[in-house]
Symmetry: C2
Subunit: 325 residues, 2 copies
């Protein structure tokens, strides 16, 4: 009976995350969606498991928002404006009313932040760890969605925001980087716990960028995906890869952290290529959105990613992309 009341609670908590405009809404088994005329829908799904993709004792609001935001990041990297999401939740017995209230409050905050509406989902019980799957929808002008395979030779390679904060933040979450000032530790930790999907930049890259994707599995590995999909190679300069002040501080303490910065995951920045002459347009987008956009290298003939280190020697990494298992 506790279980049943919890599921009633979810219905009560989740209703304000929805709206009546999508017809069938949360009280029905399905939602109705329609892109604006002349637009395609972009859809993506990501699953997250407690103990694998987040720590079971992370705050419920952070868990909720991270699950949502990693999907918004995918949508934005396609050049699409995020609109809706579905939420499938498998809940262990240990989840109580307070946890669910905090979880829903996190989603409510992100409804405000990103204007995305919950249009449906499913909630089930599990004897295993808390598991979530978010499916997010956005829209983009017909045929204009960005993808990985459109890079061209001599394209410049750009990335939004800063790279490596989340990988270093994960070290903080695990008790590492303890010599770092508390403020820097907190900055990195927040970047790990709560990605900042570039939803204002992504849609503006349509008709400017060639290839694009979001950096979720590590910069070098994800750039490798663009190379494979585009049948090209890439060269980037490690020194050009944008870092936050906190990441700079961490690398001063331990220069070996550079590998984590370049190959760690969870950045949720947009990695894209564009012709060199689009740099002024990109500078304008950066100025108007307040999101840094940095050129880090160029596409070239070949089939691999070369990372030039500070001493102009190619760097080699044990892994080139992070996997959660």
């Amino acid at each position: 009976m506790t279980r049943r009341s919890e599921f009633d609670l979810i219905a009560a908590l989740f209703a304000p995350l929805s709206d009546e405009a999508h017809g069938l809404n949360l009280k029905d088994d399905a939602a109705r969606i329609r892109p604006d005329p002349g637009h395609d829908l972009i859809v993506t799904t990501d699953a997250l498991v407690a103990g694998v993709h987040f720590f079971p004792d992370d705050s419920p609001a952070d868990i909720a928002r991270k699950a949502l935001r990693v999907n918004l990041s995918d949508v934005a990297a396609k050049g699409a404006v995020p609109l809706f999401y579905l939420l499938a939740l498998a809940l262990p017995d240990s989840v109580d009313d307070g946890w669910l209230e905090a979880f829903a409050a996190g989603l409510a905050a992100d409804r405000e932040a990103y204007g995305v509406i919950l249009i449906g989902g499913d909630t089930v019980a599990t004897p295993g760890p808390l598991t979530l799957a978010v499916t997010a929808f956005g829209q983009v002008r017909q045929g204009m969605a960005l993808h990985r395979g459109a890079a061209q030779r001599d394209d410049r390679i750009f990335v939004t925001g800063s790279i490596g904060d989340a990988a270093l933040g994960l070290q903080v979450r695990r008790g590492g980087l303890d010599l770092l000032p508390a403020a820097a530790r907190e900055t990195l930790l927040r970047r790990y716990l709560l990605p900042d999907p570039r939803t204002t930049v992504g849609p503006r890259l349509v008709a400017i960028a060639h290839a694009a994707m979001d950096v979720s599995d590590g910069l070098v590995g994800d750039l490798g995906h663009i190379c494979r999909a585009s049948s090209l190679g890439a060269e980037i300069l490690a020194d050009l890869v944008p870092r936050s002040t906190a990441a700079h501080q961490a690398l001063e303490l331990d220069p070996a952290g550079l590998e984590a910065v370049l190959t760690g995951g969870d950045d949720y920045e947009i990695l894209f290529t564009a012709p060199a002459d689009r740099a002024p347009a990109l500078a304008e987008i950066a100025a108007e959105t307040g999101v840094r956009i940095t050129e880090i290298g160029r596409m070239a003939l070949g089939d691999r990613v070369t990372v030039w280190g500070p001493d102009r020697q190619p760097l080699h990494f044990e892994k080139t992309g992070h996997r959660h298992f």
Copy 2:
């Protein structure tokens, strides 16, 4: 490294379930979809957990197909033609290559059977039980999607196929109904393991049915959902509820099984209401699709479901809808 090769295997196994027409396809992080002009997309998601929604030792092909079909059932009950699906998979270590091959083969069979195309998904590792979330898409003429809340007073209540087989099949799966002939046991078991979503009937109910939903949590409980959403009551006659020959045999052995038939879950038939004068149109649909459509009662003033028993007394049930927890 075993893990990585498995995920490569999944990519290989799942590619034939997709197509190139949806642009971004399985090699990218998102899919692009567009309803036909003049149509709405219908989207639904259902999560299934091993040990909760299916038995961990059920055949991988059956698990895959059930996860897909329960979603196709939702789509069909909205009057929509199923088109696409996404698959989020959380896999425990115990899953091996053979299991995955059989799982993908099940989905390939249903691609043939229902013409639905895999357009994306996510695969992650879990320390817990196998967990799947399928998100299915269909399309229906704009504004014509069926829903629960449109029943009208004096509407007749109809249901497709037969009711109760899956609930009895679950008893068989658990070792019960052992006095039943083997053929009947097998029929009921298959109906539990593998729903038969009414994708040919659902789209034809548009402009005929008022309210509609699929029967997943038990006939009486789901009819209660239609009542609440439509602010009406309902009266049905237990004797009219269509049963398979196998279910008849089971009820002869144990008449108490009637409660399981009427309130058990996993039927995945379409329950709908329509004006009495649409009976001839429904008979034509039944004849053309080969799916039985049976009138079982009518909508009335009130706020509850009354089930009249064989002796013309109202039946009372311990539960009116089945929950998986």
